[in-house]
């Protein structure tokens, strides 16, 4: 088993919601990154979770920046630290809104310039910090405060967009698999260039399930095939164990959806769309992993 450091960089005084996956993800990200790390955080739940000035619950320097600006801010930081001869890790820790929507231009620019940094998108599939409005990452059929009848558009394929920049390392992860996440962060930080990790963050208040169910919900997401754990290293795709198993014998999608209030009353059309999108994604990734495309 991977040795996870005992040092804590997310101290026990965050203002996160009970069962919050974001602070859990960040806890393992920082354990993997270690103390020589600067976090860049655009507007997202983590802006609040870290606490109110003059206190902070995070024990690494954190630069909070405007919503659209995280990747660009990290570009400047990375260049300046290199110029000063420092090897400090620059990690963007951003929500899905700040990544797939308002921040995607800066993200694309930073990756095109091969900025040396790690971009982590923790994805709870909506604007959680402002009370669950739809984002480009909200899946079809999910109810949010701005899609009261369920979202009619599909979730944006962020990973395909990032992959189109040919980064040295791209991976998905999930809050329910912290060891897997830890290893991926370690691997990403060992490489130079623009690295990307997309982490599913099952959000109890946003998805409307009870707060002790976060890990269970994350596992169901993977086991049902709705979230696939994989890595893309210099273009080569590897599907990770839990998702390999799910591809052979998936848990029924209903099991994943029925535990979430946001999918309550989802119509057949949206359900079928969700299911076929998941299947298409799995088939495509499998082909890539097998070297068939």
């Amino acid at each position: 088993m991977t040795e996870i450091p005992k040092e804590e960089y997310v101290l026990k005084c965050t203002s996160a919601c009970a069962g919050c996956p974001s602070s859990l993800i960040l806890r393992y990200v920082l354990k993997a990154a270690g103390p020589d790390t600067v976090l860049v955080v655009p507007a997202c739940c983590t802006s609040v979770i870290q606490g109110i000035f003059p206190s902070t619950a995070l024990n690494v320097p954190v630069y909070n920046v405007a919503f659209a600006a995280a990747a660009a801010c990290a570009s400047g930081m990375s260049e300046a630290l290199q110029k000063a001869g420092k090897k400090t890790n620059v990690i963007v820790y951003a929500g899905d809104g700040g990544t797939v929507d308002i921040g995607i231009q800066a993200l694309s620019g930073a990756f095109e310039r091969e900025t040396d940094f790690l971009y982590i998108c923790y994805d709870n599939e909506a604007y959680g910090n402002t009370g669950m409005q739809r984002s480009g990452s909200t899946p079809v059929g999910a109810r949010t405060t701005t899609t009261p009848g369920g979202k009619i558009h599909a979730k944006k394929d962020l990973d395909a967009i990032v992959a189109a920049h040919n980064p040295p390392y791209l991976a998905t992860a999930c809050a329910a698999y912290p060891q897997d996440l830890f290893k991926k962060v370690v691997k990403a930080l060992s490489l130079r260039g623009s690295k990307f990790i997309h982490v599913l963050a099952p959000c109890p208040p946003g998805w409307r399930f009870s707060s002790e169910m976060t890990i269970e919900m994350g596992k169901l997401a993977v086991k049902s095939g709705m979230w696939i754990l994989y890595e893309r290293e210099f273009g080569k795709v590897t599907i990770n164990g839990p998702s390999k198993a799910a591809m052979i014998k998936p848990v029924p999608l209903e099991e994943y959806l029925s535990g979430q209030g946001r999918f309550k009353g989802i119509d057949r059309k949206a359900f079928d769309a969700l299911k076929s999108q998941a299947q298409l994604r799995a088939e495509h990734l499998k082909k890539e992993a097998d070297g068939l495309c």
Binding site: P35, I52, T56, V65, A72, G76, M77, E79, Q82, A84
Partner: protein, 370 residues
Amino acid sequence: MLTVATGNKAVAAAVKEVRPQVIAAYPITPQTEIVEQIAEYVASGELDSRYIPVESEHSAMAACIGAGITGARTFTATSSHGLLYMHEMVNWAAGARLPIVMANVNRAIGPGWNVWAEHTDAFQERDTGWLQVYVSTVQEAYDATIMAFRIAEHEDVLLPVMVNLDGFLLSHSMQSLETITPGSFVPPLHLPHAIDISNPAGYGTLTGPDEHFRFRWEIEQSMRKSVRVIAETEQDFAERFGRNYGVAEEYRYEDADVVVIAMGTLGKEAEVAVDLLRNEGVNAGSLRIRWLRPFPELDLSGRDIVVIDRDYSFGFGGILAHSLMARSRIEPYSVIAGLGGQEVTFDDIAGFVRDRKPGREFWFGVNGNV
């Protein structure tokens, strides 16, 4: 060294002397030559900076902010729509107390597309906490850019500085330029709140009303202290390099009964108008305002004042004229002229003085008496 240069090339040459560690910029007409020249300096090795060719102006300022908080000296340049596009981060830079220096090549704002000189772009950023200086010659563009770094980085200021030069009129005009070696005139940057790995801190975290209010007050205190820092910096510059500027440049001002007040290249053109008027027996003088922020305290009592605004606040008036009305309690003849690069000659300016109607507003070229 004595040479000739355009306003844009002079800014780039000044940046080369001050050697920022990180430069992030996005090209826009008529600023493009600054970015190209800096890219050239970096490519040739004449300037050992990290140059980040960002994908937008918003990202240009964001990258300067990210670099700046590590303690690096940073520079960017923009114009017009680029400045407005980075507006959010322009505010952020000042609030984060980062001494970023930016050249803004003043240009009108669309629609329709207009690439010529107007000050409304930078005037729209006047409440952001940036210091703003406006220059009128190639030499001044160079000198002001060098001084901007020292003023911004002074421990009593720690606010960003914007150097403004008129699009095309100055950015693309070639004039003589004496370059200098600043040496100890611009000491190394020491940013007291730079990121320190051994002492982790949160920057820009959630901030309550009382703390936010105090931070705003601190910006204003620094802005007030910058008046002295500007004066000291310009005096030291004059002693070392022989060129003296000041918050406003006076021309035949002492005994003038009527004073033309303008900014940028119009302020220079006004001097020629003053000579013309003096030959006619009119006791005219001119005053070219250089610093918009901090805005100068000027005693203008006992004279007729003609203010030329190359900007406008719709539903209100000429921004310079109204600023002077509030600060110096004057009732000027407010002339709106030169928007979008409208041609304004010294003859025209002399005409404004001859036809002045104190307390009235006049839009030049459109029969616009208000």
